[in-house]
């Protein structure tokens, strides 16, 4: 269980801001106004609840800090969204941050995640594939493979891709088959090396 007070959350946010040469605006509780970035028929994706701080960045970008322990979002123009979910509910989070000249935002997200990991005594892993950066935090001692994340992405024409992250073995197919069947006809299946990995390892003793 990880608990941080509002004051502690703000302290982390302030340090993250300072390390990036920014100033944290804590002039009052508010909800982040996401409306400038919404399409006419798009719902506001920000979580409900009071927002305790907004880190103002250049170029219509803000880093919002919500209720403790932390719900954080990087909002603004570009193919990136960073959302921390409530640590108390799961083992951690997965975040995707686009690059393409947006290194400042990536750096801020990396710094903020470092601060949160340190303050919350969390494990942290950062991976980048050239297009997106993933930051994963989880409680020390947790086995992240026990709680895979399913990502469903629906393109502008309504067609979908379903991915499973953090699970070894063919059991991941069972996890997603109901969703895939409900959506329609499967046109392509790409199996990763982990798909064929055994879910349990056998160790032989007394050989060699």
């Amino acid at each position: 269980m990880i608990h941080t007070t509002t004051a502690e959350t703000l302290s982390i946010a302030t340090e993250a801001a300072r390390s990036c040469g920014m100033v944290l605006d804590t002039s009052g509780e508010r909800r982040w106004d996401y409306s400038p970035f919404l399409k006419p028929d798009e719902a506001d994706p920000t979580p409900a609840g009071p927002q305790v701080g907004v880190l103002r960045l250049p170029g219509e970008v803000s880093l919002g800090f919500n209720r403790p322990p932390a719900v954080v979002g990087v909002f603004g123009e570009g193919p990136y969204t960073l959302v921390w979910d409530d640590f108390r509910e799961g083992w951690g989070l997965t975040s995707r941050i686009g690059h393409e000249g947006r290194h400042l935002k990536t750096a801020i997200a990396l710094e903020a995640s470092r601060q949160f990991a340190e303050a919350g005594n969390l494990e942290r892993k950062v991976t980048a594939d050239g297009e997106t950066t993933k930051i994963r935090l989880w409680r020390k001692g947790d086995d992240v493979t026990q709680n895979p994340i399913i990502t469903i992405e629906i393109d502008e024409k309504g067609n979908a891709t379903v991915e499973v992250d953090g699970m070894k073995g063919s059991g991941c197919s069972l996890l997603t088959k109901d969703i895939e069947r409900a959506l329609g006809k499967t046109t392509e299946v790409e199996k990763k090396p982990e798909y064929n990995a055994p879910t349990q390892q056998t160790v032989k003793i007394g050989q060699g």
């Binding site: 028929d41 629906i154 979908a160 379903v162 197919s173 409900a182 499967t186 392509e188």
Partner: protein, 126 residues
């Protein structure tokens, strides 16, 4: 990641279609047939039947959702109706189906967002 599946969306869940229509700003009307029945609708080339009929405000003819989950329509390459309206409806429908299925599969949604490119991304976890 151990696997990635690509799916061509088919419209079979008519309740999810109704909810998608409610969220779509361009839908003027939706009619859904009783179970085992079909609704007739007039397209340019004649009458056709389907499980549901969706009328967009700015389209000349309705979109007929067939029993096999496909859509039949006459929009004359966009001159009689903007294809983006139907694409958006399919996208909203798929999101409705995913959210519903996640809930009934013992999973929980940990994030839902619309990307800058217009994709809907939903993440779920046990």
């Amino acid at each position: 990641m151990s696997h990635k599946t690509t799916i061509k969306t088919e419209i079979h869940d008519l309740e999810a279609l109704k909810r998608a229509c409610d969220k779509h700003g361009e839908v003027a009307e939706i009619k859904v047939a009783e179970a085992g029945q079909e609704i007739e609708a007039r397209l340019y080339q004649g009458n056709t039947k389907g499980a549901a009929v969706v009328k967009f405000k700015s389209w000349n003819y309705p979109v007929v959702i067939k029993a096999d989950g496909t859509a039949e329509f006459d929009n004359y390459n966009g001159n009689w109706g903007d294809q983006k309206h139907l694409d958006k409806l399919t996208q909203l429908y798929a999101a409705e189906v995913v959210v519903q299925k996640v809930k009934t599969s013992g999973l929980r949604i940990i994030s839902q967002e619309t990307t800058a490119e217009g994709r809907i991304r939903i993440q779920a976890q046990k």
